[in-house]
């Protein structure tokens, strides 16, 4: 399993390779890549939203909890969505506007988990002259256990 070694932060690069609304086929799987979630990545994510709970940082404390060790915050899927998809994924298209999301949580992601994603567009429609796509995602750990599943609504760039 090859993993992406570097992350392209210029979302304009490869923009011409990405599917536009017309090309997106509901039901068709998106390309995904496995990603090893590091403690450092969890800590950076925590910093960005002000998470300070010791269950994310303090191994000795975390061992005393129901989880028996360090975990990532449930919303770590925000990072996983981009780390588990390649540069030509249409979620990176500049101008993609997030209209809302719903997520269900099964078990937490943990440092050093190798995360995989199964994802697809589920639906697309036009509403008030805007082009919408509904996307559907499930993240798994290296044991094939579901971490979380979610659905999002995006307005596609025109």
């Amino acid at each position: 399993m090859a993993e992406a070694q570097t992350f392209e932060t210029d979302f304009w690069k490869d923009a011409n390779l990405r599917k536009v609304w017309d090309d997106i086929v509901p039901g068709e799987p998106r390309k995904t890549i496995p990603y090893t979630l590091t403690k450092e990545a969890i800590e950076l994510y925590c910093k960005s939203v002000g998470e300070t709970h010791p269950i994310y940082f303090d191994e000795a404390y975390a061992r005393t909890t129901r989880y028996g060790g360090l975990i990532a915050p449930p919303s770590i899927h925000i990072l996983l969505m981009f780390s588990c998809t390649p540069a030509d994924d249409w979620m990176r298209s500049p101008g993609t506007v997030n209209a809302g999301q719903s997520w269900s949580y099964n078990i937490p992601a943990r440092p050093n988990d190798v995360i995989t994603l199964q994802a697809r567009a589920l639906d697309k429609f036009i509403k008030r002259e805007r082009l919408f796509v509904v996307h559907d995602n499930v993240f798994f750990n290296q044991r094939g256990e579901v971490i979380c599943s979610g659905r999002g609504w995006t307005i596609r760039p025109m």
Partner: protein, 149 residues
């Protein structure tokens, strides 16, 4: 007071922490989430229109709201031995650098299922003007085998 399933009532309020939004906080969220959409980075790009919408400048990631609501829920749930199980949100107003936002929740209902106990929570994020920028609903499980932290 730490929440327990029995002492919770519809209408009880959960207050989340205030969050000051800045260009730096948005850039940090780019680095932490790997979401480098120019909506959050490029002022020139944001002078343009998106279909019928013109934002007029860079905006915070909608998912930053999501992360703040999630943080509020877990900080409330962990001491009670409860588990954050679901969060549904939609964004109703853009958030910009200079805004201060704050998530909150209101207990909507309690429900017992065959194997567990559940609390439904209406959630929202408001800006410094008291305007709702995000709304949604969350589900927190209070397992019968409580493991308080």
């Amino acid at each position: 007071m730490t929440a327990t399933f029995d002492n919770l009532s519809a209408g009880d309020v959960i207050d989340g922490p205030k969050f000051a939004v800045s260009r730096e906080s948005i850039r940090l969220f780019c680095d932490a989430s790997l979401d480098y959409n120019p909506l959050h980075l490029d002022d020139d790009y944001m002078k343009g229109s998106f279909g019928k919408t013109n934002f007029g400048g860079i905006i915070m990631h909608g998912m930053n709201n999501f992360g703040l609501i999630s943080r509020m829920l877990t900080d409330w749930a962990y001491p009670a031995g409860a588990i954050h199980r679901r969060l549904e949100t939609r964004w109703v107003k853009p958030v910009r650098p200079g805004d201060t936002i704050q998530p909150s929740g209101i207990i909507k209902a309690k429900q017992t299922s065959e194997k567990s106990r559940w609390v439904l929570i209406d959630v929202m994020v408001k800006n410094q003007a008291g305007e709702k920028v995000a709304t949604g609903e969350a589900l927190v499980e209070f397992p019968r085998d409580l493991f308080c932290q």
